[in-house]
Symmetry: C2
Subunit: 223 residues, 2 copies
């Protein structure tokens, strides 16, 4: 969590949306797109898009727009999408299996090469063509293949030990789906993807909305 | 996307972390916690925690800390965790099945009551005790049970039609895992959970880190 990138995280998180939009535009044979067009398609303000893209380098001609293929190339380079990246998944439960077979990742240059699980009943099975290995094999495989990314889909109580094992094996970027926030040493990039916590923020909106509906119903009943 | 809550989204997204910490503290019999303690456990600045919690209402005594059970109750009320909420999942593939059986949700009052899929081969099966129904049954079941939340785990090309069907059926809060940004009418809360886009931002860190390592190796080689 200690790498300080030059681009703010919210801007960084929107770049993949632009990338996907541009891939489609390119496939449709478009050569130039405006920030207004992108904004309309992505429900984002055009000024926001121009600002986000300005982190790449100076781009776009006012009143003319962005050259689709040029911008695509820059985004690929900036996001590192052209490089092939390999990752392992630790935790071969339903979520781990879902991620291992998620079709959207390959477009971003990610290949999940193996899954690991501590359950002997799962070891040896295959998920979408990837083998499930025993946890003890993690250090060797990660070191041998120079794997840089680890995806954690184990229960909360096992997460810290798995993260520690990943770091010890040489993994530097960790995507954690366990509902805890593991500690990592300096220089390791950890992204927590806490689905239950995300759900709780949605819960807030469900309740707010239900309250609004009740008030509206009460209001219309009185009128 | 047009509901404007009084609390900023980043603060809202941290409240579940505090909630989980306090549940554990309460189970351990703790009666009071300080923002410093919470900050240390969650790797967050104590000042940030105090600011986030100030959106609930005036809380905490300087130098004394937060009363665990009082704060727990306020968080439950604020986040609507005490209310039972029911949701449906549309798309009974691996990700849909993973979410339907995700154990973390029940602690936040969410019950996934049914899955829907357009694949006749899946219809009639059960996932973690929930039945998979044909898509055509969605409007009836959602209206009859007054379901407010829909979870979308269909492929990109099917997502807009599924979101439209959910909105028509009366769903007001949508959690979308398809890698597109569907359009929704005013008053509907849509949260996009784009795993591939999230992956792309991690890709950025993998490449940055690999570059740094190469430079370090090159540097040590010269010395």
């Amino acid at each position: 969590m200690d790498i300080k990138p030059g681009i703010p995280q919210p801007s960084l998180s929107r770049l993949p949306l632009y990338y996907r939009f541009l891939v489609q535009a390119s496939e449709l044979g478009k050569e130039v797109v405006s920030s207004e067009e992108m904004g309309q398609a992505l429900s984002l303000p055009a000024a926001q898009i121009r600002k986000d893209l300005s982190y790449l380098r100076e781009f776009g001609r006012p009143g003319v727009g962005y050259a689709v293929n040029e911008l695509l190339g820059s985004l690929e380079e900036f996001l590192g999408l052209a490089n092939d990246k390999e990752a392992v998944v630790v935790g071969a439960g339903r979520l781990g299996q879902a991620l291992a077979s998620y079709p959207g990742f390959e477009g971003y240059g990610l290949r999940i090469v193996a899954l690991f699980d501590s359950d002997p009943a799962k070891v040896g099975q295959e998920v979408a063509g990837r083998r499930i290995f025993p946890l003890a094999k993690l250090p060797n495989l990660v070191a041998r293949l120079h794997i840089q990314m680890g995806i954690v889909t184990v229960p909360a109580e096992a997460a810290q030990a798995v993260v520690d094992a990943m770091v010890a094996a040489g993994i530097t970027v960790i995507w954690n789906f366990a509902p805890v926030r593991p500690h990592v040493p300096e220089g390791i990039w950890l992204q927590n993807e806490d689905l239950a916590a995300r759900l709780a923020t949605l819960s807030y909106h469900v309740v707010r909305h239900a309250g609004k509906q009740r008030r509206e119903l009460a209001g219309s009943g009185r009128s």
